[in-house]
């Protein structure tokens, strides 16, 4: 029953979107000068790393110089004196102006700017556009991917939960694969870092964040190559959640340790000069912890994508019997490493989040934990 519903749902999506996928999105590029392959690859990589307003699958150039993009348009949602919703196919990949309620919008380097009817963009001295940027809440490629991953995770893990109920606590099918991972997160990440007493309340976040990052990392390695976890806004959001959870669940001891790191080991007048330096460092550490999380994930995934795509690009640059197979082999090896990195980064993010939660929820009996801040700055 479940499976037929799901299959129907997939079929409906495919049918709905197929009309858009074919035949549309053809543009003339004849007026642009022919770029050399190197710049094109570089631009392609840069474009790929960024979020985009349509779900492009691939593109090719016809013999007459016509670029054909194959993909799905996604809805654009703008807040500019009221909600403006239209399809991203209106932009025609940045070549045309989109008109909504008498306002004109232009897609310029992946960002939407408000322009006049002719689509002029004004630049400042540093070549940055000075046009107004409306608040952009579009369902971009990344948002769509988050949505798909979320649905997948929800379907996967609720069916796992149901299979437990059905089989009397014994996992079946995919559960056999995912249960050890869930148990690993519980027994080797949450329990040792947070402690037997408090780990339960952090488990949902740790599990969700681990599978979310892992799945998105893996999706980033598929030929669709959607670079979600290599986007600074995504890692920032995840790290911010870790930060908020850490501080909202912080115990009295955690805050006391933050503002009174030396405790009762010294008289108060001796502590004052030290605290002028120590307390700002502690407060800085508070920010640095999530910041390191967000930069680490972002940089690792971004770098992986750049390296992998550059190696693939090299195949087209070499065009020789030696160079191309060599760069193919290298790209293959790197993608294997990337599969490992995908898991590793998800693990590290979860592990460090658990570590920070552990510091926050710990209740000291004595203040003998002066070495902890150093550990926390990992």
């Amino acid at each position: 029953m479940q499976k037929t519903y799901f299959a129907n749902f997939l079929l409906a999506i495919v049918l709905l979107l197929s009309a858009n996928m074919f035949g549309k999105d053809k543009e003339q590029h004849s007026d642009e000068p022919q770029k050399d392959l190197k710049t094109e690859i570089k631009e392609y990589i840069q474009h790929h790393l960024l979020d985009s307003h349509d779900f492009s699958l691939f593109s090719y150039t016809k013999e007459n110089g016509e670029h054909v993009y194959v993909g799905l348009p996604l809805p654009v949602i703008l807040w500019d004196d009221g909600l403006k919703v239209f399809s991203s196919s209106k932009f025609h990949h940045g070549e045309e102006l989109a008109e909504a309620d008498g306002n004109y919008y232009k897609l310029y380097h992946g960002k939407i700017y408000k322009t006049d009817a002719k689509g002029t963009i004004d630049y400042d001295a540093e070549e940055h556009p000075t046009n107004i940027k409306p608040l952009d809440f579009s369902i971009t490629k990344n948002v769509a991917m988050i949505f798909i991953t979320g649905l997948l995770m929800f379907w996967l893990f609720t069916s796992l939960a149901r299979s437990y109920a059905k089989n009397g606590g014994i996992p079946k099918g995919a559960g056999r694969f995912f249960e050890p991972i869930v148990l690993y997160i519980r027994d080797d990440i949450a329990r040792p870092n947070i402690g037997e007493k408090n780990y339960r309340k952090y488990m949902p976040f740790l599990l969700t964040v681990f599978f979310f990052i892992w799945f998105l990392n893996i999706f980033g390695l598929t030929p669709l190559g959607i670079n979600v976890t290599g986007n600074i806004a995504i890692t920032c959001g995840l790290a911010l959640l870790t930060f908020l959870i850490t501080n909202f669940t912080g115990t009295k001891d955690y805050w006391k340790h933050l503002f009174d790191p030396l405790g009762d080991t010294m008289p108060w007048y001796a502590k004052i000069p030290l605290y002028i330096i120590l307390v700002p460092i502690e407060l800085l550490g508070l920010i640095i912890k999530p910041f390191s999380l967000l930069i680490r994930l972002y940089a690792n995934m971004q770098a992986g994508h750049i390296v992998l795509m550059s190696l693939i690009g090299l195949m087209f640059l070499f065009k020789s019997w030696l160079g191309s197979p060599l760069s193919f082999a290298l790209a293959f090896a790197i993608s294997l490493i990337e599969i490992l990195v995908a898991l590793l980064q998800a693990y590290i993010f979860t592990m460090l989040s658990a570590l920070y939660f552990g510091f926050a929820s710990e209740e000291h009996d004595h203040h003998e934990h002066e070495d902890e801040p150093e550990l926390a700055h990992l």
């Binding site: 948002v143 949505f147 929800f154 893990f157 606590g169 869930v182 920032c236």
Partner: protein, 166 residues
């Protein structure tokens, strides 16, 4: 840094935060809680089952020890019973031997006494018969002898002379 800030998209950030929190809440309710509960229950069950098995094993050992003890006791009891029986038997044999000996002795003594008295009676009887015979013989002799006067007188003299000698 400027590139990073330029790449940062507020819309994406907001969407991620919303979708992630939604996903977190949904999964917490419909997936993680049932999964973790099921796993906990299972582990609890395994732990209990192991404890019960251990308990049963201990009980089994106790039972075995008990039966061993009982067996040992029974064996000891049998041993003592046998020993007692043997003692009783030995004693009985000894007693009856004693009894028999005493009885036998008694009977032998009685027999001896009887034999003695019988012998005395027999001897007395023989003495009587001998006396009677002697008297008869004497009578006959005397009668014969007394058939003439001289001989009678002589005999009386002899006899008187014998009596005196006696």
């Amino acid at each position: 840094m400027e590139k990073l800030l330029n790449e940062f998209s507020l819309g994406l950030f907001v969407w991620l935060t919303l979708l992630f929190i939604l996903l977190l809440l949904l999964l917490r309710k419909y997936a993680w809680k049932p999964i973790l509960d099921a796993v906990n229950d299972r582990e609890e069950g395994i732990k209990n089952a192991l404890a019960a098995a251990e308990e049963a094993k201990k009980e089994m050992q106790n039972v075995t020890a008990d039966s061993e003890k009982l067996l040992q006791e029974a064996r000891n009891e049998r041993e003592t019973m046998l020993k007692e029986a043997r003692e009783i038997k030995d004693k009985m044999i000894a007693d009856s031997k004693e009894q028999a000996k005493i009885e036998g002795d008694k009977m032998i003594k009685q027999a001896q006494a009887t034999i003695e008295s019988e012998k005395k009676a027999a001897v007395a009887d023989i003495k009587n018969q001998v006396a009677e015979l002697s008297v008869e013989i004497a009578e006959k002799v005397i009668k014969e002898q007394l058939s003439n006067k001289d001989k009678q007188l002589k005999m009386v003299d002899d006899m008187l002379g014998d009596i005196k000698l006696n």
